[in-house]
């Protein structure tokens, strides 16, 4: 079934409505540091385009598309530094699989996933009893609902409901993450068949976002190397910078290949250990690429790269805010080691 290429092409084309290819970043700039840090209207538009149900299986009313389509979309969104919490929303929809109310299904109400128990850990089982605490919830400020993932399953809770408390904090990219506390009573737990798979898909999707973001940052930097002149020459003519620009391209293509090959393998179906090993390999590369891009973009821009005024500043802030979400490279190297040793055994 090679229809994915056509599907992906159509999705990426439709993405141009939200993030015009190489368009300006004015919208992104304007939304920073003003809660919720993104536009609920644009999120609703994303819902109208059907993207929120992209990865939900057809039997649950979703589009049932594969990870390659999903990754293609997220690369396009990453290129546009999209501030709306799409990866988290996709995960939330995937976990709740068509069981949410229609305002959530169609994106009028933002629902994000609240899954993470500890910083730099993929644990989501939660405590045996008592309050449930979920960290690093993307887009928490504007969310009207949360898909809370725990040992018991997934619970859809609404913001403002008794017992649901959300505290938000700003990230360097001007979005806000949240800490969610669930204390009252016992929410209705819905069964989740494949939470680990859903989480791996989210990690892969987020990696694709980082790939798109890095690709954009590299393009902006290459453009700068072409136009910025010092010593009567474009700085891109200096070999010291040329070699490092080439290295950026090498890392970019390694990351792209790893993402799309892994996406294809996931679509074909993998054992849990092989999947974890592959996805963690991808996330390690993507986080490394984003941080390399950020370092080089600042350095090659010189002083202007240290400001928030230039577009590259937005890209750098996004990279340092997002590189470690869904697990740092350190976490994923460890996870890869464990998973690949297990699958080899």
């Amino acid at each position: 079934m090679d229809g994915w290429i056509e599907n992906a092409r159509m999705i990426v084309e439709s993405a141009a409505a939200i993030v015009p290819e190489d368009g300006g970043l004015d919208r992104v700039r304007a939304l920073r540091f003003a809660s919720p840090g993104y536009s609920p209207e644009v999120f609703a538009e994303i819902g109208t385009m059907g993207w929120l149900q992209l990865a939900v299986p057809e039997r649950d009313g979703g589009a049932g598309l594969g990870m390659r389509e999903c990754a293609s979309l997220l690369v396009a969104l990453g290129r546009g530094l999209l501030p709306e919490p799409v990866v988290s929303a996709l995960l939330a929809q995937r976990l709740t699989a068509g069981r949410a109310d229609t305002d959530i299904l169609d994106g009028r109400t933002v629902m994000v996933a609240a899954w993470q128990d500890r910083t730099d850990s993929l644990d989501f089982a939660g405590p045996a009893g008592g309050d449930i605490l979920k960290l690093h919830v993307d887009g928490a400020a504007g969310a009207g609902a949360f898909a809370v993932l725990a040992e018991q399953g997934v619970a859809i809770v609404r913001a403002g409901e008794p017992g649901v408390r959300v505290e938000t904090a700003a990230l360097q990219d001007g979005t806000f993450e949240g800490t969610l506390t669930l204390s009252a009573g016992n929410p209705e737990w819905l069964p989740v068949a494949d939470a680990d798979l859903a989480l791996d898909e989210a990690i892969l999707s987020h990696s694709a976002y980082l790939l798109g973001l890095s690709e954009r940052g590299i393009e902006i930097t290459l453009d700068y190397l072409r136009v910025r002149k010092q010593f009567d020459q474009p700085i891109g003519s200096f070999q010291a910078l040329q070699h490092r620009a080439s290295e950026l391209k090498i890392q970019l293509e390694l990351c792209r290949a790893a993402i799309f090959r892994t996406a294809a393998r996931l679509d074909a179906g993998l054992s849990a250990d092989r999947r974890a090993a592959a996805v963690s390999r991808v996330k390690t590369r993507a986080a490394g690429l984003a941080m390399l891009m950020a370092r080089e973009a600042v350095q090659m821009h010189g002083a202007i790269g240290t400001t928030e005024e230039a577009d590259i500043g937005l890209v750098v802030a996004k990279a340092i805010s997002q590189a470690n979400r869904y697990g740092s490279a350190r976490l994923h190297r460890n996870r890869h080691f464990d998973a690949s040793e297990r699958s080899a055994a």
Partner: protein, 396 residues
């Protein structure tokens, strides 16, 4: 235009002969000084404080006669040589003292002592000591960064004045300064380095405008300064007409060596460890291995730095190989900050320090480390200079 208010005259005390003290006595003296006198302002700040915040500390240093550590005592300084100055810096760092607006004490003062007229010294030096004048450095322009000599701001002699037109940028804390020294082109007809002059300009002169620029942390730490037909008296020139390049290039004593001091890297390494312990992962052998690599680098850097300080103590002049120190220190600082970012996990991207604890603030360290490879000669340009002037490799 400028928010700067003169701190007022701080009469200097009569100071002991610090150079006559043993290093250990001097260290204790500095330690007691900061513990007793440091005002109620932030410590261990990873960003530059604005004048309103740091003014009490400038006031204390000024009143105590400690604001210009390296100036000769005859000029109102502490008369410290490199060894004692290093101790002072170390103890200030250890306590987490904020960095004051030090362009006057560090750059302009020594430069005027060497190249200024008697009248310039008499007028400007006391005002730096008292905090009445806060200076900014106006060298860089939008199109003249690494290639500073291509600067285009012009100064034209018109009767009793120089008339200045052009723009400076990346002027650190220029919004807080009441004076700026600039390099301006006074002869466009000659080789670019040969037609540049060094001028002193009040920031409140008609035609000077300032626009703050926000850095990646959202702090306005530098600004653009525009000059539109700004008139300054002829005696605003330091040194001879068209001698500005030589003046600016004239080495600012041992400050160049101190840029390579291991303290930035050492502090960052301590924060890396602190974060690892807070995360309960310092027992991870893989992390220990990476931590130890960085630690060895910091310690070797310390040895190299001390070797340079010894040269200074012995009165040797420092050559272009001092780039070795600057390159290694600034890149090491960045590598440590990279490791902190990875270790911080999802909190790496937080705008404010986790739990309000600056020692856990990976992004703060990462961002603070970025400019060190850009200003004061970018790493790339420094490596080019090394290839040429230290390694004597052929040029194209």
């Amino acid at each position: 235009m400028t928010q700067h208010q003169a701190a007022g005259a701080f009469p200097a005390q009569s100071l002991p002969d610090f150079e006559a003290m043993s290093d250990e006595d001097f260290r204790q003296t500095v330690r007691r000084f900061v513990e007793a006198k440091y005002p109620d302002i932030p410590r261990f700040s990873q960003h530059r404080l604005r004048w309103d915040e740091v003014k009490p500390w400038y006031g204390v240093l000024s009143a105590e006669g400690w604001i210009c550590p390296t100036w000769p005592r005859a000029f109102g300084g502490m008369g410290l040589g490199p060894g004692k100055h290093l101790i002072l810096i170390e103890e200030f760092e250890r306590f987490g003292c904020a960095r004051v607006h030090d362009i006057g004490p560090v750059m302009l003062g020594p430069l005027l002592m060497k190249f200024g007229t008697q009248a310039q010294k008499d007028f400007y030096l006391p005002r730096i000591l008292s905090g009445e004048d806060i200076w900014a450095q106006g060298y860089s322009e939008p199109d003249a960064g690494s290639d500073l000599a291509s600067l285009r701001t012009r100064a034209v002699r018109d009767g009793d004045a120089w008339v200045i037109d052009g723009q400076k940028t990346w002027t650190t804390l220029g919004m807080d300064a009441n004076r700026i020294f600039i390099l301006a082109r006074t002869d466009p007809s000659v080789k670019k380095q040969a037609g540049i002059s060094f001028l002193l300009v009040p920031m409140d002169a008609p035609g000077v405008t300032v626009r703050p620029i926000r850095n990646l942390e959202g702090h306005a730490e530098f600004c653009e300064v525009f000059f539109d037909a700004v008139r300054v008296p002829l005696d605003s020139l330091v040194g001879g007409e068209n001698e500005g390049w030589a003046i600016a290039k004239a080495l600012l004593g041992h400050e160049r060596v101190f840029i390579g001091a291991p303290r930035l890297s050492g502090n960052a390494l301590a924060r890396l460890r602190y974060l690892a312990e807070a995360r309960d992962v310092f027992d991870d052998p893989a992390l220990q291995d990476r931590y130890t690599r960085l630690k060895l680098d910091v310690e070797d850097l310390s040895d190299l730095f001390e070797a340079y300080v010894d040269k200074l103590r012995g009165g040797e002049t420092i050559g272009p190989d001092v780039a070795i120190l600057k390159i290694f220190q600034s890149e090491l600082y960045q590598r440590i900050s990279d490791e902190m970012m990875e270790l911080a996990g999802a909190t790496a991207g937080m705008r404010e320090p986790e739990d309000g604890d600056p020692r856990k603030h990976a992004a703060g360290t990462w961002l603070a480390a970025r400019p060190t490879t850009i200003f004061g000669g970018s790493t790339e340009v420094m490596r080019n200079m090394m290839a040429r002037y230290v390694l004597d490799l052929p040029t194209r």
